[in-house]
């Protein structure tokens, strides 16, 4: 059965049942290792450094200054 076939029936559900369905699907997905491959307790490194506000503007100003004849 495809999503397109299921969707009309889902839309016809009362709001409370829609919420139950959301929770049910969320719990199902939690158990799918391919969907949620993150390991509990492991530290994941984020490569993107964080800068205080204005970093991009400072670089653009440097470029603009260098581009001036």
């Amino acid at each position: 059965m495809s999503l397109a076939e299921v969707l009309p029936n889902v839309r016809a559900l009362p709001a409370a049942d829609k919420l139950r369905l959301i929770r049910f699907l969320a719990e199902e997905l939690d158990l799918e290792p391919d969907i949620a491959p993150l390991e509990h307790g492991r530290t994941y490194h984020l490569a993107t450094p964080v800068f205080e506000a204005g970093a991009a503007a400072a670089l653009m100003q440097e470029l603009d200054t260098a581009s001036q004849p």
Binding site: A47, F51, L59
Partner: protein
């Protein structure tokens, strides 16, 4: 121009940086979530860039809060493309990796990610600030 993801699954782009008479072959992480290009301290030193406290007006945040960085313009060549001028936040730490971010790598190049094929493509956008 097509490139393969690294064995660790990262879109690392090989490029050559040139400053003055010094050149350095590096790999930059293509990071569309990064506001700026980031240059680690040792890479700038290898290029013999001159640190200037007066111009180090950029500050890192997060775990590296307070670490200064200064704007540094460097000529960069990707493959056979014409060299472009990239502006880096040259950080006074090696706790960062070389990152290619929105200002201004993504302003100079169009990038497409094909994660399912473990490939990405890079092309000049035609509005480059050529050197």
């Amino acid at each position: 121009m097509q490139f393969a993801y690294s064995p660790a699954g990262k879109p690392l782009l090989p490029l050559t940086l040139t400053l003055g008479g010094e050149s350095l072959a590096v790999e930059g992480l293509l990071d569309s979530g990064a506001d700026v290009n980031v240059l680690p301290w040792s890479a700038g030193q290898t290029l013999r860039a001159a640190w200037d406290d007066q111009r180090a007006t950029i500050r890192l945040g997060g775990a590296l809060a307070g670490t200064p960085a200064m704007p540094l313009l460097i000529q960069a060549r990707v493959g056979e493309f014409a060299p472009v001028r990239l502006a880096f936040a040259w950080c006074r730490t090696d706790e960062v990796r070389l990152v290619l971010g929105q200002t201004n790598f993504f302003m100079e190049f169009d990038v497409c990610f094909f994660r399912s094929r473990m490939e990405f493509s890079v092309a000049p956008n035609g509005r480059s600030r050529t050197m």
